[in-house]
């Protein structure tokens, strides 16, 4: 674990180093050096930025939880129940490629400008990603694995609990890690439109003021949010899927 943290730190240091080199050689106001950006970040953190970061983190987290709770059971069930899947699969395949983000105006018209419509949009976007991955993973499960547990006396519910769920879990977590990137992108978009808080609003506000240091402070906050979610998911995966990391 300690070694992995060191590797992460080295990667972050290298990234900041590259940024420094690029900023110094470009000499543009819109591209400040890391020192200026981090100074603005630390200065703003207690005065609004921290609050916006917390609000955004809350919105993304709750969206991820909601989409998980809805998509995982449905995906597992569709993956294993062919009759139901035959009906729902075309529906999913038609709706999956529609970019949910274009529905933002509709969602805002129906659900208002508050938290609900932002969370709804993020959850809707990643719901489909998790649903499709879960369903496909559950479908690909080896039949004999289920047969051998059935022969031990497992009922349907026990097969889901002891075989299907643990088999699909690593793939769900991988899907979630990929989806977390999408979630933050959608969050940014949702928070820039008719919004009064969150990191998207903070960035938009800095941009209109042409305050590039503040803008980059917002970028740093967004990156920290993304990294935190990503690392949390990886930590969970290593915790609950020990058998994958032998």
């Amino acid at each position: 674990m300690g070694r992995r943290i060191i590797v992460y730190l080295i990667a972050i240091a290298a990234l900041i180093g590259l940024w420094e080199v690029a900023a110094v050689s470009l000499q543009m106001a819109a591209f400040p050096t890391p020192v200026i950006a981090f100074a603005a970040f630390l200065q703003d953190l207690p005065h609004g930025l921290g609050r916006d970061l917390a609000i955004s983190a809350w919105r993304v987290s709750i969206s991820i939880v909601i989409s998980l709770v809805l998509a995982v059971p449905l995906g597992l069930y569709l993956g294993r129940e062919e009759a139901l899947d035959r009906f729902f699969a075309p529906l999913i395949y038609v709706t999956y490629p529609i970019p949910k983000i274009v529905l933002l105006p509709v969602i805002m018209a129906m659900c208002g400008l508050g938290n609900f419509s932002k969370i709804f949009l993020i959850a809707l976007t990643i719901f489909f990603q998790i649903l499709v991955t879960t369903r496909d993973a559950a479908r690909q499960l080896e039949r004999p694995l289920i047969d051998s547990v059935t022969s031990l006396g497992a009922n349907k519910w026990q097969v889901y609990r002891h075989v299907i769920w643990p088999a699909v879990l690593p793939e769900i977590l991988t899907a979630l890690r990929i989806a977390s990137g999408t979630a933050i992108a959608v969050l940014f978009f949702a928070e820039t439109i008719a919004s009064e808080d969150g990191l998207g609003y903070y960035l938009m506000d800095a941009w209109t003021r042409c305050d590039w240091a503040d803008l980059f402070a917002g970028v740093i906050a967004m990156s920290i949010l993304g990294l935190a979610i990503y690392m949390t998911l990886e930590l969970i995966e290593r915790r609950v899927c020990t058998w994958k990391y032998l």
Binding site: D147, T150, S151, H162, W243
Partner: protein, 249 residues
């Protein structure tokens, strides 16, 4: 113990129906071992699935202990070739899975499972995952898990075919020892002539698909480790080879 009469199974696929078994008839006495041998793809596994109650679409009569075969008969244990163990459960969790699924988690069950692990030389491996074991160890865990539900009928589908020769013989001896101790009825599906003759008190020879019984070979020499080296053993082996070659064409 096991009575199979005129068993036929047909698989329906999208644009064809494949007959796997055609009028298979045989019986196995309680406490007897029976090896089922036939060319690969002949429907041996299908037959085992019917006996395990996992395949219910068939015609004919199949009785286990006088009762029509049904899914989830509690005293039947099944061991499949490669998929026996759940990779996300440790050895110990795999072995207690059967009792656990039946709601049995008392200390005497744990003790019984510990004894089983000990008997099969797995006592120190309880905390490992199947991915950390050798093929032979994994198959021993599969046997332990099957025995943990205290079966009277043990069904095995080519349990040792992916193992190297020495490990295979060791596990065959393990199985023989368990059979002698518990006197359970064992039905083992195999494509290995030597394995059939070493383990099967009765040997059922199946034809290529659609499978029917071409011969029932009585094999009374089974039961001692010395049997593998005796002249009678080789005699039965050549007889089986002839039977399989004639049918295989």
């Amino acid at each position: 113990m096991v009575l199979v009469e005129h068993l036929s199974v047909t698989y329906r696929q999208t644009n064809a129906s494949i007959q796997a078994l055609k009028g298979v008839t045989f019986s196995v006495e309680a406490g007897e071992t029976c090896a089922i041998i036939g060319p690969s793809g002949c429907g041996k596994t299908t037959l085992l699935y019917v006996l395990a109650g996992l395949r219910t679409g068939f015609s004919g009569r199949v009785l286990i202990n006088g009762q029509p075969v049904r899914p989830q008969r509690r005293e039947t244990a099944l061991i499949l070739q490669d998929y026996g163990l759940l990779p996300w459960k440790t050895v110990w969790q795999n072995v207690i899975l059967g009792p656990q699924l039946r709601g049995l988690t008392g200390p005497e069950i744990f003790k019984q499972c510990e004894t089983l692990l000990h008997q099969l030389g797995l006592a120190d491996l309880g905390h490992l995952f199947p991915g950390q074991l050798s093929g032979g160890q994994r198959q021993r865990v599969a046997i332990a898990r099957a025995l943990a539900v205290d079966p009277d009928l043990l069904l095995m589908d080519e349990p040792f075919s992916s193992l190297d020769a020495l490990t295979r013989e060791m596990l065959q001896d393990n199985l023989l020892a368990i059979w002698k101790q518990k006197r359970l009825t064992v039905v083992i599906v195999t494509h290995s002539i030597e394995e059939a003759v070493y383990l099967g008190r009765k040997i059922i020879v199946l034809s290529p698909r659609p499978a029917h019984v071409i011969a029932q070979v009585d094999n009374p020499g089974v039961g001692t480790r010395a049997w593998r080296k005796q002249a009678g053993f080789y005699h039965v082996c050549s007889r089986l080879r002839e039977l399989l070659q004639v049918e295989g064409g």
